[in-house]
């Protein structure tokens, strides 16, 4: 019997069709996985189910009755529980306090012991092994996640949505989670398991629905599905439109990454033993699903995140121990992932933004201080070269459109004539015209014999521009393939772990 049916759910946002007539069923005691790339519409669908969005079309049927969910409270009242990828927990409080918050068993006095007893028995019933009076901040991530699961059961959930539940877990913790999920389904709990990792989905799910570009492509039985089949469904078979790109001999090695290891800000290692080279006149694309270490890699190369192991060479010179500014001076340009928080200072004028890495440059800061006319002339010149509009160097950068902001960053980094440009998600959120402009600039750098490291979550962008493509999966570089012959299927296989890592060394 189906405990949940979503029928023809459509949800539009301005300019985006996030869910296009999506239908989905969940049987009692079933684990139904939703598989898809970033932006495939999984989160939107779950937010519709959790009452955060009202669908434009379609119907939600719970236990045979159509319902209208106008908020998370409604969803919770109907027995739907959600474990977000980012936990909603209060570190300084105990497990029990976190669980009962907002839905306390008694109205006035908080009877700690009774509440703890209740949590303990719930924890035992579902084999979660959580200590009710432990402080959240003292618990490892895996146990914190179980607290989130307990929160749902405390509110009598019988449908549990797990959003990318293994993203932050160690392999061992993931195994433990799977065994918990199996216990849950035996007790009649139904689970929606959202993921982009094929192997996990095949291991835990009964059925798999693959989403792509807002559409539910197919629903398959996990027993019958093959990894390659799912990977193909996930990335699609569209023809890749490759840009006109003059053939070019790659020159000397400009960037050499050797056995790089990087820990994220949380101290957990995100990049494991990654080695590759980027040559002059080459665009090297890094493909991967979000959260597989690509941005830690970018930050480590730019010198913002410390390297915990391995070596970096720029044109043969070791740069491993250089600071961000020293690397910039040595010839690394960096377009960070997030324009507004990392790349620009929005209430600074455009001119001031151009000076971000020039505060020690005597060309702009002379003995009498800032040479304003020099700086403004320089900014104006670059704005003309990169067609930043409106062409007013005194305008605050925050007043520019996203595309023009990105042009300012691009102009700033490119004007320093870097040997290597690291471009992390350089076209995120831009309109078509601006995307094309950014792509042309990257190709021009390639023509000029510079090296470009392009990191993008958009597979199309990687395929369109790259001479060679490396794939990151789980923080490891699992494959390096020539861009010319690469296909979506091939990359999809590596990105999702469906295809095992290339055997021989990936350093060409």
């Amino acid at each position: 019997m189906n405990v949940l049916e979503l029928k023809g759910i459509t949800k539009r946002f301005p300019g985006v069709l996030a869910n296009d007539h999506v239908s989905f069923e969940l049987a009692e005691g079933e684990v139904h996985a939703i598989l898809g790339e970033n932006g495939a519409g999984k989160s939107t669908l779950m937010n519709v189910l959790y009452g955060l969005y009202e669908p434009d079309e379609g119907e939600i049927v719970l236990n045979g009755t159509p319902v209208r969910l106008s908020g998370p409270r409604d969803a919770i009242a109907h027995g739907i529980g959600m474990v977000h990828q980012h936990f909603m927990l209060i570190g300084a409080m105990t497990v029990t306090e976190n669980i009962i918050l907002g839905d306390e068993p008694t109205p006035v006095w908080y009877h700690r012991r009774e509440a703890e007893e209740r949590i303990r028995s719930l924890s035992e019933q579902y084999h979660l092994g959580v200590d009710p009076h432990a402080r959240i901040e003292s618990l490892p991530v895996g146990l914190q996640q179980r607290v989130e699961i307990l929160k749902a059961f405390y509110r009598q959930a019988h449908i549990l949505i797990l959003d990318e539940p293994t993203a932050a877990l160690t392999p061992q913790e993931s195994e433990e989670l799977f065994s918990i999920i199996r216990h849950l389904t035996q007790q009649g709990i139904s689970v929606i398991f959202i993921s982009h990792k094929l192997d996990e989905v095949l291991q835990i799910a009964d059925r798999v629905t693959v989403m792509r570009r807002g559409v539910a492509e197919a629903t398959l039985s996990a027993r019958d599905a093959t990894p390659q089949q799912l990977a193909n469904l996930m990335v699609g078979r569209d023809v890749v439109l490759r840009v006109e790109k003059p053939p070019q001999e790659a020159g000397e090695v400009l960037l050499s990454v050797r056995h790089l290891q990087v820990a994220g800000r949380d101290g957990v290692e995100r990049v494991h033993d990654v080695s590759f080279n980027v040559r002059a006149g080459e665009i090297f694309g890094i493909a991967g699903v979000e959260g597989n270490g690509q941005f830690e890699l970018a930050e480590a190369l730019a010198g913002v995140l410390p390297v915990s192991g391995g070596q970096l060479l720029l044109a043969g010179k070791a740069i491993t121990s250089m600071s961000a500014l020293e690397r910039a001076r040595a010839g690394i340009g960096y377009i960070p992932e997030d324009r507004s928080t990392e790349g620009l200072i929005s209430d600074f004028s455009i001119t001031d933004n151009f000076l971000l890495k020039e505060w020690q440059n005597p060309r702009f800061f002379g003995p009498l201080g800032l040479r304003r006319s020099v700086a403004e002339a320089y900014a104006l010149e670059e704005m003309e070269a990169f067609d930043v509009r409106p062409r007013d160097p005194r305008l605050p950068a925050g007043h520019l459109s996203g595309g023009n902001q990105q042009k300012v960053i691009l102009a700033r980094e490119v004007s320093r004539s870097p040997q290597l440009l690291i471009a992390a998600q350089p076209t995120r959120g831009l309109d078509v015209g601006a995307i094309e402009f950014v792509h042309q600039q990257l190709l021009r750098l390639r023509e000029a014999g510079r090296a470009v490291l392009l990191i993008s979550l958009e597979l199309d962008e990687i395929l369109t521009l790259s001479d060679r493509i490396g794939v990151l999966y789980g923080g490891r570089l699992v494959a390096v393939v020539p861009g010319e012959t690469a296909t979506r299927e091939q990359l999809g296989g590596y990105m999702t772990g469906a295809t095992p890592a290339q055997e021989e060394g990936v350093v060409p």
Binding site: P14, H86, G369
Partner: protein, 370 residues
């Protein structure tokens, strides 16, 4: 305002608009208070303005009152520019005054040199006081500088009171005060009774600060860190070092103000030297938008409120404290610029319409993903 300042192009208008509006709103509320307590509101405000600017002596008094506010306000502005909050300028002012007084009476030097020595001593002492403890604590231990500067402010004041009441700086006699400084250390008086050459110190400080903020590499770093520490780190700036420097320079200025007050006006320090300048200076910096030119103008306004308030009491019989109420209201309206936007939001419907799609485009926020 320069093009180098982070203000929109029509910033000359935009940057002045909100402060002026805040002052006007504060005057309106202030006159309502006057009316509610039985005074003619227009007459009250008139007496206030006349008291502050009515004749050259009054203007001199206004400017005289503005001197310490300008210098301390500049100091507070330094920390605001760096994204910090120095609420303990009062204590740093004391430290500077104590150091200047000591050098002023205990050492003998030729005239101009003596003055410079006093200023230098005050700046070093107060700079270390603010930079060393709150600065290092903030940079390397993450200790909230609002609290540390505030606590050290009390420490400085009690220390000062001890020094002049029973400590080594007490002058012979029964009064709790220090000896008087040597004539070689006093600043010339421009207009009697007390409008001193300290005004030049303030103007020079403002000019130097303006250059530092908008023309120097240091100021560029400071402003970058204050607005976006992440981008600053990407550009290779040392956030910790700038925090220490910003608090240190802020303290130096507060100390300089204390010295200017001793050398120009008081000539000795006594136990009730406390002034409230540390708090008023916050208002001055905020109203001046942390721009040295703005700070100078805001300090003159607050000086006018002080002087005008006293004259208003004498001439119109309205208690001078009304001026302090107006000062507080100015800060309130400046801080709650949102009040003005809130009023806009209430009565201009288009804002509401533009609010919705924004929300729809950013599902991540709703989902609580950050």
């Amino acid at each position: 305002m320069s093009a180098g300042t982070p203000v929109r192009r029509w910033g000359a208008i935009g940057g002045v608009f909100f402060p002026v509006l805040s002052v006007l709103l504060a005057l309106v509320v202030g006159s309502i208070v006057a009316a509610a307590t039985g005074y003619n509101p227009l007459g009250t405000i008139g007496a206030l303005v006349d008291g502050a600017f009515g004749d050259p002596t009054r203007i001199a008094a206004t400017l005289s009152a503005a001197i310490p506010l300008m210098i301390v306000g500049l100091g507070v502005a330094v920390t605001f520019q760096a994204g910090l909050f120095n609420i303990g300028a009062e204590g740093q002012y004391w430290i500077g005054a104590l150091a200047a007084t000591y050098v002023g009476y205990a050492i003998s030097l030729p005239p101009i040199l003596h003055i410079l020595a006093c200023f230098l001593a005050a700046m070093i002492a107060a700079g270390i006081w603010a930079g060393l403890i709150p600065g290092l604590a903030k940079a390397y231990r993450g200790a909230n500088e609002v609290i540390t500067t505030m606590m050290l402010s009390y420490v400085a004041i009690y220390l000062g009171q001890y020094l002049v009441e029973s400590g080594p700086m007490k002058a012979p006699g029964t009064l709790p005060q220090s000896p008087i400084i040597a004539p070689s250390a006093t600043l010339p008086i421009l207009v009697q009774p007390q409008f001193s050459a300290g005004i030049f110190v303030a103007i020079v400080a403002a000019a130097v600060l303006w250059w530092l903020f908008y023309r120097s590499s240091w100021g560029y770093q400071l402003r970058t860190i204050g607005r976006n520490p992440v981008a600053a780190r990407y550009a290779g700036m040392s956030v910790a070092r700038q925090y220490v420097l910003a608090l240190g320079v802020s303290g130096m200025l507060a100390g300089l103000a204390g010295a200017a007050q001793i050398l120009g006006v008081q000539h000795r320090i006594y136990d009730s030297f406390s002034s409230g300048y540390g708090y008023t200076a916050i208002a001055v910096a905020l109203l001046g938008r942390n721009n040295p030119i703005g700070v100078v103008l805001a300090a003159i306004l607050f000086g006018a409120l002080t002087t005008g308030g006293q004259m208003m009491q004498i001439n119109a019989g309205v208690d001078a404290q009304l001026a302090n109420v107006i000062e507080g209201l100015i800060v309130f309206f400046v801080a709650a610029e949102a009040i003005i936007r809130w009023i806009q939001g209430r009565f201009h419907l288009p804002r509401r319409a533009s609010g919705r799609p924004q929300h729809a485009e950013t599902p991540a926020v709703v989902e609580g993903e950050r």
